[in-house]
């Protein structure tokens, strides 16, 4: 039975996650094999590994979007609210949907063209403000740059406010300011007790910001504190294993 490392004095911490002998096979291809590690509550846990190593598949397994075997258990003192930042936002660039419309679609059941419900407006304002998109809320999605779209994806993941945030390479497309904004936001979320599970490629940044790191290439190559496990040799082994 999985018992997450929860600080009893701080019950506002997000959920902990256990991956227990998780396997994933799609068709005849084995994507993940015997994945076992834990994500501690209220920490930033980075997932690294070479391309095609199964990082996104693992994240999507946690979202319940993959036919995995084994057990993925989420332990939380309260209800689990997940936020998910996908790798990219694919859409028709001529689609006449503004940033506001997009946020409305995320929050409410009624059609976006009827406007944002008053009850959701404060939280949408706050989310857009946190990612620096307030001034561009009337822009059509197709007119946003790649970095702005990435910020928008981050903003939608904050509605409703999550206690478990899953991010699939959110830095892709972000400029320096965007990267700084994201780091600040993540630190802020961490202080609020949000558990963050993050696929990332920048090992320097992982070392700086993550509490734990797990390297996946079909199986778990190593997992632990970045300062301890991210040695040059291990990184070399991980990224040349394929």
């Amino acid at each position: 039975m999985f018992v997450p490392l929860i600080d009893n004095k701080c019950c506002s911490k997000g959920p902990g996650v256990l991956f227990d002998r998780v396997n994933l096979t799609l068709g005849n291809t084995s994507i993940l094999e015997n994945i076992s590690f834990t994500i501690d509550p209220g920490t930033i846990h980075c997932l690294i590994g070479p391309n095609g190593g199964g990082k996104t598949s693992l994240l999507r397994s946690l979202l319940g979007q993959m036919p995995h075997t084994g057990e993925i258990a989420i332990s939380s003192p309260g209800p689990v609210v997940m936020g998910y930042v996908p790798q990219a936002l694919d859409f028709d660039h001529t689609l006449p949907i503004t940033v506001d419309d997009f946020m409305a679609m995320v929050c409410q059941g009624r059609p976006a063209f009827t406007g944002i419900k008053a009850v959701h407006r404060p939280s949408i304002d706050q989310a857009l403000s946190r990612v620096g998109l307030t001034k561009k809320r009337k822009r059509i999605l197709g007119q946003l740059s790649g970095g702005e779209r990435q910020r928008l994806l981050l903003a939608q993941a904050l509605l409703p406010f999550p206690n478990l945030l899953l991010m699939d390479e959110p830095m892709a497309g972000l400029d320096k300011d965007g990267g700084r904004m994201l780091n600040d936001l993540l630190m802020e979320l961490k202080h609020q007790g949000v558990t963050i599970f993050w696929i990332h490629h920048d090992l320097k940044e992982v070392k700086a910001i993550a509490d734990r790191v797990t390297c996946v290439n079909k199986g778990v190559l190593f997992s632990g504190q970045p300062g301890l496990v991210l040695s040059s040799q291990q990184i070399l082994d991980a990224f040349s294993a394929r």
Binding site: L63, I72, I74, S76
Partner: protein, 211 residues
């Protein structure tokens, strides 16, 4: 502390849902189709009746069909104007088979027609007897036209009966029936010809009948 297990993606519920929808659609469609199927209205022949399809040969079937169509015309002609029954000469002038003497008439045994209009109370009745002159597998046809002029006379508003009866006799030497009731005709050996119905018609259209 609450613990929840992430369920793997499964298409099981979708498959079950889809299968149930298919079953429901099939059941509804089946029900609708079953509700629209008409019961087989094939007539059960009585001992004094013949099946036009089964019991007549192909030439006799042709004569019967022509006579049946002619009966409708005769009924129309009688129902209009001075309510006279058309004579044989009129029918021949109208080129109405099987009364007109054409090649088909010759092929079907050269039926010699005799026409009588007996007095029958409130009813208008006309009789047409056709006896083949040629030897062969031809029988006699006897057309009984009955017209009540429903609505024109008191008490006839609800009278419903077929406007004609067609009877058949194998004996070509049969005499013109003096009494035209079912019983009298039966006693004389006449058989009422019943038109194609139900499965017989299907069988006929499929070309699987006897000639």
């Amino acid at each position: 502390m609450e613990q929840q297990i992430v369920k793997p993606l499964s298409t099981r519920s979708e498959v079950i849902c889809l299968a149930m929808m298919v079953v429901v659609v099939v059941m509804i469609s089946g029900g609708v189709i079953a509700g629209r199927i008409r019961p087989n209205d094939e007539k059960v022949l009585k001992p004094h009746q013949l099946s036009a399809f089964r019991d007549l040969n192909s030439l006799e079937q042709g004569t019967f069909n022509d006579l049946y169509a002619a009966a409708m015309e005769i009924n129309e002609l009688h129902g209009t104007g001075d309510e006279e029954w058309p004579s044989l000469a009129t029918l021949e002038d109208e080129c109405m088979p099987p009364f007109v003497k054409d090649r088909v008439w010759k092929k079907r045994g050269r039926l010699a027609w005799e026409h009588r209009v007996p007095w029958s109370g409130t009813r208008h009745v006309a009789l047409y007897l056709g006896v083949p002159r040629d030897a062969g597998s031809f029988g006699c046809f006897f057309l009984v036209m009955i017209h009540d002029h429903a609505g024109k006379r008191p008490g006839t508003e609800t009278v419903e009966h077929p406007p004609c009866e067609i009877w058949h006799h194998d004996d070509v030497n049969v005499a013109f029936p003096e009494i035209v009731t079912d019983e009298a005709l039966m006693v004389k050996g006449w058989k009422e010809v019943v038109a194609y119905k139900g499965e017989e018609e299907v069988q006929r259209l499929k070309g699987d009948g006897r000639s």
